[in-house]
């Protein structure tokens, strides 16, 4: 009773408290910018301290506002417009909390809160050093912060404050509910991880701006922001993967990546961040590419905002755009304004941005890094081009096109494969200039292994094609017995040469490059571990552990490269060789996909906390033996907010590294009386390899980020 009264009292003032916190934070941020700016100019320590305190105060205020909004969700305060729009009383507690970023206003507040966390961490990082570079960086962060505060206040057109109440004290009986597509565990964690990745990208950008403000363009800004950048990269990797996993489970189309504009928006900063992580090593090692690194980190940051513009403005349609309004145009304005400012700063610091050293050869590790950057930035711009093509084509021809997934697959495949090759070539090519000895020692073995693997792949895929084609004409059992006869080589050869089968050129190139990378990197590990083991008179394994321990950055990077290879193999299998069959089936009907037989046995119904579930029970058999009962379903939500009320609940069964995936269409009322339900069955080979690859990449990232001091890595790179 007491708690209820207390909750009611707090609800009575919650919105006003949250709104007041936002407005006060506006002034504290302006004060922070002014105090830091003037303090740096006049070299007044007192002002600098005041500015830093204002940053902390802003964090406290925005934290208060965020806590108030979460409280309003948890206690179902339906006097607040935002709570009504994205929550409902029956919504599970987890999704009441995640509703914070389920709509426009709340997600911006959440984003703002993360920026304030970032700025406070910069203050904390600088608590002992008292270095002015951090203060300059703080100015840049707080300018970004100011933009977000202005947007969140609700004072701008097109977005209302998350604390806005209905007029005349009106209180709704219930909310509209969160979009059902967002009511999944993946979606509970996917947006925050992406936001955290984007925000942590803001800090290295701020340090770059600090370097431009202060004129200290040497490597110290890169050293200070190195772990931030790595952290951002790791979190973005996790966030993007969670998004793919969500799409795979929730959208019912059996895939995880379709080059959707919002997917692209999250991928482009990742690509640029990856490019930066490589090129910054050249700056640290050779004092080169200073301008390039500043441009890269700036672009990476600007692309996070551009992604928001694409997502929120509605100029390009997407399956992921859950919150659209005029807000995107403010982001575009901010991007353009800040870009103009940054260009001005670069021009002002032009002389100091010149490289101190020069390249000796175009065939060197430095050049490999540059080539890597060329491909990563090129890929980013290509993806941007494809993403914006609907707008461009409409401007030119008056017709708005939709760019299919196939377009992106075609235009990124060659640069993507080249990039994969560089993942192995980069680490083994020598600094300054490649020599014939270096080539012979480091390249020959990986190339031979790669070529052999590509040949084996050709044969294996021809065998697979032949099996499937024979199976298409006969029943599967006969087909398998046919191709396992002793004259299999002759049959495969005939199918390869005489039956006009296309050479799987991309798969072969992918396997060649993957094996090349793996052999090259394992060779690096092996040689290093052996040498260390010999020096320390210890085992190879201990030598390996010591090697990684001593050069975490370098060997963490190599582990990431191995992870990338695994992801490529997974993509090749799951995108290139999936099977899809779709049929309308009655109860008792069967269909075959690959070697599996699927029979619709029965229907079922279940009730969740805020939805009803209805689906079918599918019996899966292989060679007449029961494998699994799968239950694809549709959820019908009582409240759906701005989304559709029903969602597809795919049934996924893992078999080794592959998945069998079933999604169903709407269930007809007369299903038990001869009605038909559309059943789509996918066999996705190697899809688990994608998730494993990402795990390895993250593991490598964590190893790399655990290195505190950069001088060790300098030694490692030499």
């Amino acid at each position: 009773m007491l708690i209820e009264v207390l909750v009611e009292r707090i609800q009575g003032v919650a919105a006003e408290l949250g709104q007041a916190a936002i407005w006060v934070s506006l002034f504290s941020t302006i004060w922070a910018i002014a105090a830091l700016g003037i303090g740096l100019q006049l070299k007044k320590i007192g002002l600098l301290k005041s500015g830093r305190n204002a940053v902390i105060a802003t964090f406290a205020l925005i934290s208060l506002a965020t806590a108030v909004l979460i409280f309003s969700f948890v206690t179902d305060d339906f006097s607040m417009r935002y709570v009504v729009e994205v929550s409902s009383a029956a919504q599970p507690l987890l999704y009441k909390i995640t509703a914070l970023w389920g709509g426009m206003s709340g997600s911006l507040l959440f984003w703002l809160w993360l920026i304030t966390v970032g700025s406070v961490l910069v203050v904390w990082q600088n608590r002992k050093a008292n270095d002015t570079l951090s203060d300059y960086a703080l100015i840049a962060v707080t300018i970004v912060q100011l933009f977000f505060i202005l947007v969140v206040t609700g004072a701008v057109h097109g977005v209302y404050s998350p604390f806005e109440r209905y007029a005349n004290g009106m209180v709704m009986s219930d909310g509209k509910g969160l979009n059902p597509l967002l009511q999944t565990p993946s979606m509970a964690f996917h947006p925050p991880t992406l936001y955290i990745g984007w925000i942590s990208l803001t800090v290295p950008f701020a340090f770059a701006m600090g370097a431009l403000f202060s004129g200290r363009i040497a490597s110290d800004w890169t050293l200070r922001s190195r772990r931030w950048m790595l952290f951002s990269w790791i979190v973005l990797t996790v966030g993007i993967t969670l998004g793919g996993h969500w799409a795979y489970q929730e959208l019912g189309w059996g895939g995880y990546w379709a080059w959707d504009p919002v997917e692209n928006a999250s991928f482009m900063p990742w690509l640029l961040g990856t490019a930066y992580l490589h090129s910054v090593m050249i700056q640290e090692k050779r004092n080169m590419l200073k301008l390039w690194n500043i441009l890269l980190i700036t672009l990476a940051f600007q692309f996070t905002l551009l992604g928001t513009f694409i997502t929120r403005s509605g100029v390009i349609s997407s399956v992921h755009s859950f919150a659209q309004s005029d807000i995107g145009w403010y982001f575009l304005g901010f991007i353009l304004t800040s870009t103009a400012g940054i260009i001005g700063l670069i021009v002002y610091r032009w002389q100091r941005l010149k490289s101190a050293n020069r390249l000796e050869s175009l065939l060197s590790r430095e050049s490999a890094f540059v080539l890597n950057n060329w491909l990563l930035v090129g890929l980013t711009l290509i993806i941007l081009w494809g993403t914006l093509w609907p707008i461009i084509s409409e401007a030119i021809s008056g017709e708005k096109a939709t760019v299919p997934e196939a377009f992106f697959n075609k235009v990124v495949i060659i640069p993507g494969l080249l990039l994969l090759f560089l993942t192995g070539a980069g680490p083994i090519i020598s600094w300054k200039k490649i020599t014939f000895n270096n080539f012979r020692r480091m390249f020959i073995l990986p190339i031979i292994y790669g070529l052999v693997a590509a040949g084996v792949t050709w044969f294996f895929l021809a065998y697979r094609t032949y099996t499937i084609n024979v199976a298409a004409e006969k029943d599967m059992a006969t087909a398998v017995s046919d191709v396992t006869t002793p004259n299999i080589f002759v049959q495969v050869w005939e199918s390869l040469i005489f039956k006009d089968h296309p050479i799987p050129i991309y798969s072969m190139l992918c396997v060649f490059a993957s094996v090349f990378v793996v052999v090259a990197i394992f060779n690096e590990f092996y040689r290093g571990a052996k040498l260390r083991g010999k020096r320390q008179q210890t085992s190879l394994f201990s030598g390996l552990l010591q090697l990684i321990q001593r050069n975490k950055r370098r060997y963490g990077g190599y582990i990431i490269h191995i992870g990338i290879v695994i992801v490529y193999i997974g993509i090749m299998g799951s995108k290139g060789y999936f099977l899809l069959e779709s049929k309308s089936l009655q109860l008792g009907d069967s269909m075959e996909v690959g070697a599996y037989q699927f029979t619709v046995e029965d229907t079922f119904q279940e009730q969740g906390e805020n939805y009803n579930q209805a689906g079918i029970i599918v019996d899966v058999e292989k060679d007449g033996k029961h494998v699994k009962k799968m239950k694809p379903a549709r959820n019908y939500y009582f409240k759906a907010g701005q989304g559709d009320q029903d969602t597809i609940e795919s049934a996924i069964h893992g078999i080794g590294m592959n998945d069998v995936y079933i999604a169903i269409g709407d269930l007809p009322q007369d299903l038990r009386n001869g009605g038909l339900v559309n059943v789509q069955i996918y066999h996705n080979p190697l899809i688990k390899v994608v998730w494993i690859g990402v795990f390895v990449m993250v593991l490598g990232g964590l190893v790399a980020i655990s290195q505190k001091h950069v001088h060790k890595s300098q030694e490692a790179m030499a």
């Binding site: 939709t402 084609n469 991309y506």
Partner: protein, 207 residues
């Protein structure tokens, strides 16, 4: 400079690289017979995809003018259905979902309409044209490298070449012989070198 580059093996290597890159890119775009990376067993997929049991069994169909037309199901028919289902997006609101993968009621209905239209003797091109006229060109899931779309396909290669060209020019200009290089003194560690540079810049700031 010109002489030095000409004597190097790097220029031919880079030229070969660019040539190979262009060739492979053109090859990727030219593979336009099927959109995307087609599954190897697509022949089998074609033969079964999208078959509606209710319609599959019917042997006659009523045309628009009321005539009852005999219909003969064939593999060709199914491949035409497959083409329609994979080259048109559903307009139900599920963005970028082709009829092949869309699960909504609209998709079911439209697929039946496609079947009926094919049975009435309309060609895939005619059905596609009617559909796109009714719902808009944004529902086309194919983008052939022709007309205005050719620009979309060419531009990625241009982007890479421009960035690559700029990179090569910058790298060529930044190359120098050993005498020109400002290598750090080998007796000074790089850490020390960096600290010195940072100190120097701080000194410049203060003055």
């Amino acid at each position: 400079m010109k002489k030095r580059i000409a004597s190097s093996v790097e220029t031919p290597l880079i030229s070969m690289f660019i040539f190979a890159f262009l060739f492979l890119s053109a090859f990727a775009v030219a593979q336009d017979s099927q959109e995307g990376i087609k599954p190897l067993d697509s022949e089998k997929v074609d033969s079964q995809n999208g078959v509606d049991a209710e319609l599959r069994d019917s042997e006659t169909v009523e045309s628009e003018n009321g005539e009852v037309v005999e219909f003969q199901d064939s593999e060709d028919f199914e491949s035409q259905m497959y083409e329609l289902n994979t080259t048109l997006y559903c307009f139900c609101g599920c963005d970028r979902m082709t009829y092949e993968i869309c699960h909504c009621v609209t998709a079911e209905y439209i697929k039946k309409e496609f079947r009926n239209a094919l049975k009435e003797g309309q060609t895939v091109a005619e059905i596609r044209a009617t559909y796109l006229e009714e719902h808009g060109p944004q529902y086309s899931a194919v983008m052939h490298a022709e007309g205005i779309n050719l620009l979309a396909y060419i531009m990625p290669a241009v982007i890479l070449l421009i960035i690559g060209g700029v990179a090569v020019v910058v790298l060529q200009n930044s190359r120098g012989n050993k005498a020109q290089l400002t290598q750090p003194d080998n007796n000074i560690s790089e850490e020390m070198q960096r600290q010195l540079e940072a100190e120097l810049e701080r000194y410049k700031d203060q003055n």
